[in-house]
């Protein structure tokens, strides 16, 4: 085929993404080097917003950890968001892995139906799925009213909603189905004769799981980990609906800086620091587990 045809076909989509994705992200970076002075934006280049995030100051204590910053809110919320997101991601992988295993090794017929069953919730309104936890855990919610109706408790429990745990449960619920698919694809690719060979050579069920299935599932498991971890750090809907004041995350801060606090340049700087920290963590993680070697071995 003609050599120019490829780039010409790609160009429209590429240009749209350049205009609606790359340019806005570039503008965000630019804005983070400006400052908000009253109602005006001062367009002189400065690192002031970034300095403000790391500027030393008397330590503020959060959960026993000192944050020695003059303006500790971004640092605290970032650490908190990372911790909550990591916990939720770990829970997601632990819950999703056996399901993926079931799908790959147990389901013989109607595999597509199972996959559709797992896919449907992911594609239906995130907002509504998060809101449904408010109905489950709320003061006048399903759990409380159910337990009262059963006579287990007399008064509604008020610690169920509006805390970090509620956020983490909700995040886990929102992402488990999504995480099953990449793990499942990895498991499905495993050459079954490897398992038979191991069995013939005397490996037990658990030895086979530990020495063959688990290592060979890693590309999908790692992909699922990243696909859940990366977007959940900056989630806005879940902390807003079920987090309350204790459960706020860094996304809520970004939103506030852009709206109520009217400091968009600071909001831009916080967004960029958040993305850089996530990217750095992801790179360190991939490095630590030897991602390239792993992919080469699994033939993915």
């Amino acid at each position: 085929m003609r050599r120019t045809a490829g780039p010409a076909l790609l160009a429209p989509a590429f240009l749209v993404m350049a205009a609606a994705l790359a340019a806005p992200l570039g503008a965000l970076v630019l804005l983070s080097f400006w400052t908000q002075t009253g109602f005006e934006i001062d367009r002189t280049f400065t690192l002031a917003n970034y300095w403000r995030i790391v500027e030393p100051g008397p330590p503020t204590w959060w959960n026993g950890i000192p944050f020695p910053f003059a303006y500790p809110v971004p640092a605290i919320l970032l650490v908190k968001s990372l911790a909550m997101s990591l916990t939720a991601t770990a829970a997601v992988i632990l819950v999703a892995w056996p399901m993926a295993y079931f799908l790959a090794f147990r389901v013989r017929r109607g595999k597509a139906a199972w996959i559709i069953l797992l896919t449907v919730p992911f594609w239906t309104s995130y907002l509504l799925r998060v809101f449904s936890w408010k109905i489950v855990l709320g003061y006048n919610g399903a759990v409380n009213s159910g337990l009262i109706a059963l006579g287990v408790i007399g008064e509604p429990l008020d610690f169920l909603l509006y805390n970090p745990v509620a956020v983490m449960i909700t995040l886990t619920h929102s992402w488990i189905a999504f995480a099953v698919l990449p793990i499942y694809v990895s498991l499905e690719k495993i050459d079954r004769s490897l398992l038979e060979a191991a069995a013939d050579l005397g490996d037990s069920r658990w030895a086979r799981l530990r020495r063959i299935t688990l290592p060979l599932s890693m590309p999908g498991t790692v992909a699922a980990t990243l696909l859940v971890f990366i977007p959940t750090v900056g989630d806005y809907v879940t902390p807003t609906l079920v987090g309350g004041t204790q459960g706020t995350m860094i996304g809520s801060l970004v939103q506030q800086l852009f709206t109520r606090q009217d400091n968009a340049p600071m909001g831009a700087a916080v967004s960029i620091v958040m993305m850089l920290v996530i990217a750095a963590l992801v790179l360190v993680f991939l490095r630590a587990i030897g991602w390239r070697r792993m992919r080469a071995r699994a033939g993915a």
């Binding site: 490829g6 993404m17 806005p24 147990r106 449907v120 594609w123 009213s145 809907v237 852009f258 909001g267």
Partner: protein
């Protein structure tokens, strides 16, 4: 069946119950004859659905959402189909890099996409927020999915069919129209449906980029603050869930049609 197999099957059932349980409370309580989402259930009613058609702002938000979603669905698919052809059938310099860039919205938190678009539109271009700005944001998040669906479809059938068409004298466009497009059609349809559903359900970006005219999720979010509107919200939410689920099932069924059985499970 060995006992272990039973345990795993039970696990899968529990998994699905956990996945669907909370969400299904919404339709359950929406038919409950009470203004609270509480047990025990009071009795069956459809009264929470009755007032919906008369709710002008809800209907307007619905119309806005449908308009935006239809536009985004068509635009995303129209842009993604040639791009998918380019990335699967042609030599593209830096193919991996370009694909990575196009898939970037999958890993950028939507709040960042939302504020980034807000910055460039308001502070730099000085554009008024409207349904157009919402649609631009939705296009960015929908395009990678359309692209992924179409690329996987195009990779799923034998390119020698297209070569044969070329050998038999069909031109580039003739081959596209008579061979590639019919074979890619399920992918095209699922791309249309998927982009529609992404746009229709998208909240965070809309929340930042919406002007005076709301989309349905933004309207819904504004209703969540009022406890006395809970029943109506539940009814609306149930309808959205039901409609979305129907579209997703349709998308998945169409997407899998004609794929070899061993690929039918894949993404």
């Amino acid at each position: 069946m060995s006992p272990r197999r039973d345990a795993l099957t039970w696990y899968a059932v529990a998994f699905v119950a956990f996945l669907y349980g909370p969400v299904l409370l919404m339709p359950l309580f929406s038919f409950n004859d009470s203004n609270f989402a509480t047990f025990p259930l009071a009795g069956f009613t459809t009264r929470h659905y009755a007032g919906m058609a008369a709710n002008i702002s809800m209907m307007e938000a619905l119309r806005n959402s449908l308009t935006v979603a239809l536009g985004v669905s068509a635009a995303a698919t129209a842009l993604a189909l040639p791009a998918a052809l380019a990335l699967t059938r042609h030599r593209i310099p830096g193919r991996a890099l370009v694909t990575g860039f196009m898939m970037l919205p999958l890993v950028v938190p939507s709040i960042v996409l939302g504020v980034a678009l807000l910055v460039i539109l308001i502070r730099i271009l000085g554009v008024q927020l409207s349904l157009w700005t919402v649609a631009a944001g939705h296009l960015v998040v929908a395009l990678p999915f359309s692209l992924a669906v179409l690329m996987s479809r195009l990779e799923g059938f034998d390119p020698s069919l297209e070569e044969a068409s070329g050998d038999l004298g069909a031109g580039g466009f003739g081959t596209f129209r008579r061979v590639t497009l019919p074979l890619a059609l399920p992918g095209v349809i699922s791309s249309l449906l998927l982009a529609f559903i992404i746009s229709f359900d998208e909240f965070v970006i809309s929340f930042f980029l919406t002007g005076t005219r709301n989309t349905l999720p933004v309207f819904l979010f504004s209703q969540l603050r009022f406890p006395n509107r809970l029943p109506g919200t539940l009814a609306l939410g149930s309808l959205i869930l039901f409609g979305s689920a129907l579209l997703v099932i349709l998308t998945e069924v169409i997407r899998r049609r004609g794929l070899p059985a061993d690929r039918a499970g894949g993404l």
